[in-house]
Amino acid sequence: MQKKIIKLFILLLIVFVIGVFFISLNKHSIYDTRSLIGQKITDIRLDHFSKNKTITGEDLSKNNFTLINFWASWCKPCRDEHSILLKLNREKNLKLLGVNVKDKKNNALKFLNDLGNPYDELARDELGKHSVNFGIYGVPESILINKDLIIIKKFIGPISKNDYEYIKNTVRK
């Protein structure tokens, strides 16, 4: 009897392991940022730039639309897109979340002082580890999400005039 239970247990264990392998076969495990469109961002956890708090998905679901912009003071194209971000800041339905990536705090603050601060909230990712979770390869990149935290579009590189029009139209609909 006892032997039978052990045998059965071993068999069930094997079935379970193979079953899990089977399910995971059909999961996408490779990050391709393009395939992220239409998906929900599940785990958002970013350290606030100056305050001692964490920005989570809950905070973002309060906004109709959020543009998450990854930037750094040492990055020249970030300067280029800055004027567009400032314009986007005037959109009523859109909140801007800046994520300062791999940067020195003082340099970042100076950057915002000199050029203006377009962000409603500012987070900080000193080591660039959290940004990876968003499928970020470099800066600048931006992600437009809606209330349900679903990714509508990804912008790799600086936001262009066309991108600006696109965001404006999407947000105003």
């Binding site: 193979i18 495990s29 990055c75 800066v139």
Partner: protein, 628 residues
């Protein structure tokens, strides 16, 4: 043209495989003692054809025949000759062909070199092995055909992934494959043994050399991979507990356990079912590893291209193998009682086995746990070095002590090794440990234990070596492997404790000072090479205390075909330590991110592993001399 030859040969091989199985069953029915000559001939043809088939693919790579998709996707006419050849197995399809070759050649050699063993046992081994061969041939022909043609023929190929263009990596797959694909032969033999009740000593004798072959090559294969990761990937160390590395380590643990318990089976006729479990487990783990790495479930450098159908085929094959062997095992398993003396050699070998199984389970859990959590809870976790270090390191200390004492014990007898001497060795090891601390710097408590136990094993093995030298007894292979293992752990311990790692950003012309070192970014230049451009930095390391003055040249390479950027570490290897610099550009700035490392005794870690496997080859040589 070559595509047709290849396909025909693959198809012929399938037919031959079916013939072998058919004739083998026919042979089982007659009463002759020997195996029919026909079977030998077909097996010879089978091996010859598969080798020609492989050479056809190699030829296609050499002449850059881009009408074959595999060549088109993985080669380029400008690629150096050597890498054209190694490109043959640097991709999914080609490496799978290598699988089949090893399965086939091992099948033939096993048949050839076991003439003294029972006929039915040999025939069943042949049948099982050929079932495996057929399984992989079908997979090859219908899912991952290396000879698929492409029309119209492209003018130029896409090129071999530059990170695969490396000498260590060129030999890594063949070595590793002889290791874990070679383990298929004792999987087949174990099943045949269960089916024909050909058990005990004779069974152990028939497979022991095959276990030795696969173990020795597996050790070298893991080493080649590890060296490649160190030099080429710039991982900056010898082991990272990366899932891919773990996948090669799992069968190694099982093989090592098997290698030891086989001795018990051969000498004392114990542990038959345990040996069978290990035989089955080794190959099952090998196929599981292949599945994990090839299906794309684990993200790794080996994920050639993500194609779930491949994974599905291997998974189905794996399930059949596991269920078939487990059910057969349950059916044949008989409980047997062993009378073991607590201080006999048998007990110590069993202890070795439990350690091996413990490591195996730890690494297996660490490797598959992330897959499980992702499937079951949708959370991505990653199990890293802290987990392995915490679980494995304390156990290694105990393991090393047992490893020192075990070989001294006697078969059957309950006589313990000279306790007095052991105590002296322990005192000596502790003394050496504290001398190291005194001369260099102190390290953590656990490192103390690691180094003491490693030195303990080294001294015990050296005493053995001296004794063997005096009485001229042939057990040098074991002593060499154990001694080298002691050195391996010692060097790992020292390497871990005396490594220096610095990470900072530098601009051309700047200098960074830390400890006694100063690092100067002297020069930056762009150079054109045959198949890539490189940004080469020149860094000067100075050590004020030791009068050291060396230049290192890390590179950022930009490859054209396929267009890829790789970061080449510049490594200055020395007898006592390696200096290691990688440089990566920071987007849109003048600064470069520099990673500097000082790694003591790297060279000795590699050398220790070579000697560990050398022990295996030596034993093989001794066995061959004894048998013929």
């Amino acid at each position: 043209m070559l595509s047709n030859i290849g396909n025909t040969l693959l198809f012929l091989n399938i037919l031959l495989g079916i013939f072998i199985i058919y004739f083998s069953f026919k042979n089982l029915q007659n009463k002759k003692i020997s195996i029919s000559k026909n079977i030998y001939h077909i097996c010879l043809f089978q091996s010859t054809f598969i080798i020609i088939c492989f050479l056809t693919l190699v030829a296609a790579f050499i002449i850059s025949d881009f009408s074959i998709i595999t060549v088109y996707q993985n080669s380029h006419s400008l690629k150096p000759f050597f890498y054209k050849i190694s490109g043959t197995w640097g991709n999914h399809e080609g490496s799978l062909l290598l699988w089949v070759i090893i399965l086939t050649i091992f099948s033939f050699l096993f048949l050839l070199y076991n003439k003294s063993h029972s006929r039915n046992y040999r025939i069943y081994s042949l049948i099982i092995q050929n079932t495996l061969i057929l399984g992989f041939l079908f997979f090859l022909l219908f899912n991952s055909n290396p000879f698929s043609a492409i029309s119209p023929t492209p003018k130029e190929g896409l090129g071999l992934n530059p990170i695969l263009q490396d000498p260590a990596l060129a030999i890594h797959p063949p070595l590793l494959y002889i290791g874990f694909v070679g383990s298929s032969i004792y999987f087949s033999a174990a099943i045949a043994s269960l089916l024909t009740n050909y058990s005990g000593r004779l069974f152990a004798h028939s497979i022991k050399n095959w276990v030795l072959i696969s173990w020795s090559f597996q050790t070298l294969g893991i080493l080649a991979g590890s060296i490649w990761a160190y030099y080429e990937l710039g991982w900056g160390g010898f082991w990272f507990w990366d899932p891919v590395e773990n996948a090669s380590l799992l069968p190694w643990f099982a093989m090592t356990a098997l290698l030891h318990s086989l001795i018990v089976l051969e000498k004392r006729n114990f542990l038959y079912f345990w040996v069978i479990i290990l035989c089955l487990l080794t190959f099952i783990l090998s196929v599981t590893g292949t599945f994990l790495v090839r299906s794309g479930i684990l993200n790794s450098v080996h994920t050639f291209a993500n194609d779930p159908s491949r994974g599905l085929y291997i998974l189905v094959f794996l399930s059949l193998m596991i269920f078939g062997s487990v059910l057969l095992f349950f059916n044949k398993f008989k409980n047997s009682n062993y009378n073991l003396n607590s201080n006999s050699k048998e007990t110590f070998i069993l202890i070795n086995n439990w350690f091996m199984i413990f490591y195996l389970i730890t690494v297996l859990l660490g490797t598959v746990y992330p897959i499980f959590t992702e499937v079951l809870t949708d959370h991505k976790v990653s199990v890293g070095p802290p987990f392995y270090n915490t679980v494995i390191i304390p156990i290694v200390i105990l393991f090393l002590f047992f490893m020192s004492v075990g070989p001294q014990t006697q078969w059957i007898k309950n006589k313990f090794y000279n306790l007095n001497l052991l105590f002296k060795i322990l005192i000596a090891s502790i003394f050496i440990n504290f001398s190291i601390i005194y001369l260099f710097k102190s390290y953590s408590l656990i490192s103390n234990f690691i180094i003491i136990s490693a030195v303990f094993l080294i001294i015990a093995s050296l005493i053995d070596l001296y004794k063997l030298f005096k009485i001229q007894k042939m057990d040098s292979s074991r002593v060499i492997s154990h001694l080298s293992f002691g050195f391996l752990i010692l060097f790992i311990g020292l390497n871990y404790n005396f490594s220096l790692e610095k990470d900072f950003n530098l601009k051309l012309g700047e200098r960074k000072k830390f400890d006694n070192y100063s690092l100067e970014f002297k020069d930056l230049r762009l150079e054109d090479f045959k198949n890539y451009k490189a940004v080469i930095g020149e860094f000067k390391i100075n050590n004020s205390q030791r009068n050291l003055n060396q230049s290192l040249y890390p590179e950022i390479r930009i490859y054209e075909n396929p267009s890829t950027i790789t970061y080449e570490a510049s490594i200055r290897s020395g007898l006592l330590k390696d200096y290691y610099i990688t440089m990566s550009n920071i987007d849109r700035s003048d600064y470069y991110n520099i990673k500097f490392q000082k790694k003591p005794f790297m060279m000795w870690i590699w050398i220790s592993v070579i000697f560990i496997s050398l022990g295996g080859f030596l034993r093989l040589f001794q066995n061959a001399k004894k048998d013929y």
